[in-house]
Symmetry: C2
Subunit: 277 residues, 2 copies
């Protein structure tokens, strides 16, 4: 999906919501557990319920890999469903935080961006620690995106991301400054955690035009209004993720209706912020 | 596998060789391509040929994920084979460079360290960018190890790993200093690229006792003698990896014999360095 297509999707749906499909089997409602593939059944109902209100889905690979090959089959079915039923209606992100030496990242690009790898995602989150050649191979696929970790939403983000040089530049600022030159605003986004809304002004100084993927709204405590106030740019420039807050909004047989309501609420709030543009 | 068991294995085999099972299908010898599962057939013959000379195997996940679920089935068969035929005779590392927020890293720990995740590895490489809570969940499994990226062997390692603070401490040094306190020398190793042998003295100043996983010998140009001179400690403290230099030593029907010879050569050189201890 191109940047223009993504911006159009945001305008059409009046939403920049990303639903995190972190479909932890131990948290699934009982009503899906009898299905042949409970995770897929759950995802399918979540997608059907939330598609009108969301522009992106983001399965985190860990929740599938933890059930081995069986879990990855559930993910493949989910991706096949999205490709068949929601083509062009959503942007799909593999939250996998990959990155390796160039020769190896090429293989990861194949794994995530081609049908041969079984998933054919639109975008992949990558960890920047290994530098340019660990990220460049992902930028060679037209219409595909890398989403580079900059400032994450967890407590441990302080350990290294705030490490600063003699000029008081923090590592995450250095990552934003350097990594934006590897690709362009048309194929690169950055992960910026929503629990750090006060830092968005600074982030926008470094990357005014890039899209930011913002996790941490909801269960992790981030504030949507603050994120929009300081993080939005003229093209919106945000994808705001909610995982547990939407998909596990209710644990009963009507879990999908509850998820739909939560997604609608967020979309409605987002529409009001989009009007400010 | 405990630290003492690993040290004993090194002494018994007089080797600290790790064979990287980066079994890229496009590089496999023709003679295995007719097999039902070419990657598994290749790995099996490489393992059979090299097991007496190596203490560790390290499949890089990218080379399996790039063929989707089919590739991961080849990896599972390889792991099942190692568990059945080589139990206690080798240490098996998932080179996957994972790491996510705590809740998610827990799932990755299950994916790599339990039978439920299908592989049950001894160790996992992790990227440190997201900090302590992204690594701690892996340290809760007795007998399992995390191998934290510190100084990698690729060109891009300069981009961020050498970023330095006002005291001239570089990021990789800071990572070594901080991450060693999350666990202990009994469950934590560090990746230190062999193309940077001159930095090993400095690394040993920060982590004198930890094991180091050293990639980059062979195809990537590192020098084994230099690595041992500056990187070895009283327990050996090194696992030196070679991937392409061993597994693709020859492309004919006797590829496994060629791999065995390369592994033997390295083991023999390693035995001479172990005598210095």
């Amino acid at each position: 999906m191109t940047r223009q297509e993504l911006i159009k999707l945001i305008k059409t749906k009046q939403s920049f919501l990303c639903v995190g499909l972190d479909s932890d089997i131990s948290k699934l409602p009982k009503c899906v557990l009898d299905s042949e593939d409970a995770v897929f059944e759950f995802n399918k109902r979540i997608i059907d319920a939330t598609l009108p209100y969301t522009v992106a889905y983001k399965p985190n690979l860990a929740f599938y890999e933890s059930y081995g090959i069986k879990g990855l089959i559930s993910l493949k079915k989910t991706m096949d469903y999205l490709h068949a039923k929601a083509k062009g209606q959503c942007f799909v992100i593999a939250d996998a935080k990959r990155g390796d030496i160039g020769n190896t990242s090429k293989q990861y690009a194949k794994a995530f961006f081609t049908p041969e790898g079984d998933f054919d995602f639109d975008a992949l989150t990558v960890a920047p620690y290994m530098g340019q050649d660990s990220v460049s191979p992902f930028l060679e696929y037209a219409g595909k995106w890398v989403i580079v970790l900059a400032l994450t939403s967890n407590k441990g983000s302080d350990d290294f991301q705030l490490f600063e040089n003699a000029d008081k530049t923090k590592l995450y600022q250095h990552v934003l400054g350097v990594a934006q030159r590897w690709g362009s605003k048309d194929n690169t986004m950055f992960v910026c955690g929503a629990t750090k809304a006060d830092m968005f002004t600074d982030i926008r100084r470094i990357v005014p035009e890039h899209f930011l993927l913002v996790p941490g709204v909801g269960a992790q405590g981030g504030d949507l209004e603050q994120v929009c106030r300081y993080g939005m740019n003229k093209d919106c420039g945000l994808l705001v993720n909610s995982s547990r807050g939407i998909i596990f909004a209710d644990n009963g047989s009507e879990f999908d209706t509850a998820a739909k309501e939560k997604a609608m609420q967020m979309q409605s709030e987002m529409a009001s912020y989009l009007k400010r543009l």
